[in-house]
Symmetry: C2
Subunit: 387 residues, 2 copies
């Protein structure tokens, strides 16, 4: 299938500080974003795609380095989220490390990189930042907001924070909050980073180092939780790297070790340690039911959107049972909700993969969204568009 082709990220600066859930404010900041497809004349065909931990505004097409977007198999001309019908926006969240203002950028108060002083940002803060971007783009209402994992949490938060601005919410492989076990994994990763002597309390930039040891361990651990036990077994099993056992405690013996070390090494080469802390904390904090004494149905009462929830059978990080909690809360409110539980072997990572049944569900749902907003008509001008 066709790609949206070469895309160039755009930037938008916001001089007005962003008030945050913590009570702090993020000073003037810049968001980096990409768009694909064209806005219709009535501006009703916009779809916002929210990213998860290790992703960015680069959702589809090829960037300047020729790298495909992280959801390129889903988003493009003729793809389930069809850019010949929709105007699709990918935006990098503040606190991330892919271009939008983050801990590696100068704190206007000091002129030095924010480092550990970058304010703690939440899913709701990101949604607020995204809403401001839509204001600037002249989009009053989204045809749909879409995300997987932490991105799914943002999609859900949109329907509660800006109920009138979202017609459809598509939340994939997500949860109404993290379990104790989820938080525990995040905490182990954070401790690995924070206790790396090269972390320097989060101000490593001025020392010309990065806490690579901690980032490697964090990523290795993360990878285990993204994959299912079965898919790891199928892909690596107990296969040795070499023909015979070497009897070593520090060198690589099994292929799975080699794979994890490689993933850790790659990640430590580009990901920011403070961003890792911020984003895992945003995951920990997300919990729309908290303000309602744990009553998720009460939390979802304000929503006006229609919903599609998708989960994957072997996802033990955000298990189907967690998606079903959301479905139940929506049904309790008589909100419109569709739910697909996809039998897929790949664990949490399945939401990024090109599974036929999963993509058929997405295609059918977006087909309905397109018909509803007249997006199957020929597009007619609109703001920006990088395709």
């Amino acid at each position: 299938m066709a790609s949206v082709g070469r895309v160039t990220p755009q930037q938008m600066h916001f001089a007005e500080p962003l008030p945050l859930q913590s009570g702090a404010r993020l000073a003037g900041y810049t968001l980096v974003y990409e768009t694909y497809g064209k806005m219709n004349a009535d501006r009703r065909n916009a779809v916002l795609v929210c990213h998860a931990l290790n992703a960015s505004h680069h959702v589809a097409g090829l960037d300047a380095d020729g790298q495909p977007g992280w959801w390129d198999n889903l988003v493009g001309p003729g793809k389930p989220l069809d850019t010949t019908r929709f105007f699709v926006i990918g935006v990098n969240n503040p606190g991330s490390c892919f271009g939008s203002t983050g801990p590696m950028h100068p704190d206007p108060a000091t002129g030095q990189p924010y480092g550990a002083d970058f304010p703690v940002v939440t899913v709701e803060d990101w949604v607020d930042a995204q809403a401001r971007l839509l204001d600037r783009l002249g989009i009053d209402q989204l045809a749909a907001v879409l995300g997987g994992s932490l991105g799914g949490m943002q999609a859900l938060a949109w329907t509660l924070r800006y109920p009138q601005r979202v017609r459809h919410c598509i939340a994939v492989a997500t949860a109404p909050n993290l379990t104790a076990q989820n938080i525990a994994f995040n905490e182990v990763a954070r401790r690995a980073i924070v206790t790396d002597p090269d972390f320097h309390g989060g101000h490593f930039y001025r020392h010309g180092v990065v806490p690579a040891r901690g980032l490697r361990v964090a990523r290795m651990l993360g990878h285990i939780t993204y994959l299912s036990d079965d898919s790891m077994e199928a892909k690596f099993g107990r296969r040795l790297r070499d023909d015979a056992l070497a009897y070593t405690t520090q060198d690589i013996e099994f292929q799975i070790e080699s794979y994890l070390r490689h993933q850790g090494e790659k990640f430590a080469g580009y990901f920011d340690a403070n961003t890792y802390l911020l984003i895992t904390r945003a995951l920990d904090y997300f919990d729309p039911a908290r303000a309602h004494g744990g009553d998720l149905a009460a939390a979802f009462a304000p929503a006006r959107a229609s919903f599609l929830l998708v989960s994957f059978t072997t996802d033990w990080r955000f298990a189907p049972a967690r998606s079903r909690e959301i479905v139940k809360a929506l049904v309790d409110n008589r909100h419109r909700v569709s739910y697909a539980e996809i039998d897929a072997p790949h664990g949490h990572d399945a939401f990024l993969l090109d599974d036929a049944r999963y993509h058929e569900v997405m295609r059918a749902y977006f087909g309905n969204v397109a018909r509803e907003c007249g997006a199957s008509l020929a597009p007619a001008g609109g703001a920006g568009g990088a395709a």
Copy 2:
């Protein structure tokens, strides 16, 4: 129920080097062990208890510091493994850090602590070392060998390595080998330790430091895998440490974080980093089917023991399905095998806990073992006995 009371560990030195699976040899070494109960005149009532990662020879009773043994709820007078009927032996494996020769002891070749040069030891090597101890104690044949987790692997290995010397094998919460996911968790923990600058390539003793950061992370991660998702949720859930959110990435926000950090801190204060590497590697390497092209039934053909396998429904580290693989291999050989799958909420840790149904199974099985070896008769003298 009564305890075996105060126990004093004993030591046995072995001047003859131990040939290892790797081809290397462990030079003269010392084993620390405890015994409970009395050997019968016919020496047929001995039960060997094998320990897992973070345990020792101190299985039952109270040590000099008044600390109870790690399986004190199971082993004692009137307990499921009844020390009024059996002569029970707990032995610390070489490479461990609780008294037997390990990486913190002097390498006779250099006079300096072995450190990372301590030879890689396997489950089979430990069984060989245990067999030599039994030789010295004058025990030709064990009434039973018992272990949980990595200890269960040793119990299984006994039946293959010394088929004539084991009448019963009780293997709890164990597996015929580690899965790729199990190995992956071990590898993350090892990398955390090895990349801690205070590890000094495994020779930290001479620097007067310990790689505490790495050990903490390793232990925190281990703890997650010992508990079930459900029991963590029940015990900690999303409860905050304080009343309100503090919005912090480095300080403790949730109770689960506080618990894990505490566990990590405690562990780093007493456990040896090289031992952690050695023992997790022994786990990785155990795989009796490997020499038989993956055919576990072929691997168990030499066994002559009767078996009891026990697993726990919520144990995702060594899931019931793994125990069933062993049961199938035993049945395929027409070996005598009993199997209990205990519905318990506590995950892998359940094997250490006092679950009524679990302990009833153990009590019933050991009752049969006792009757079979005449151990219900009054004991009559025998070697040692610390009770």
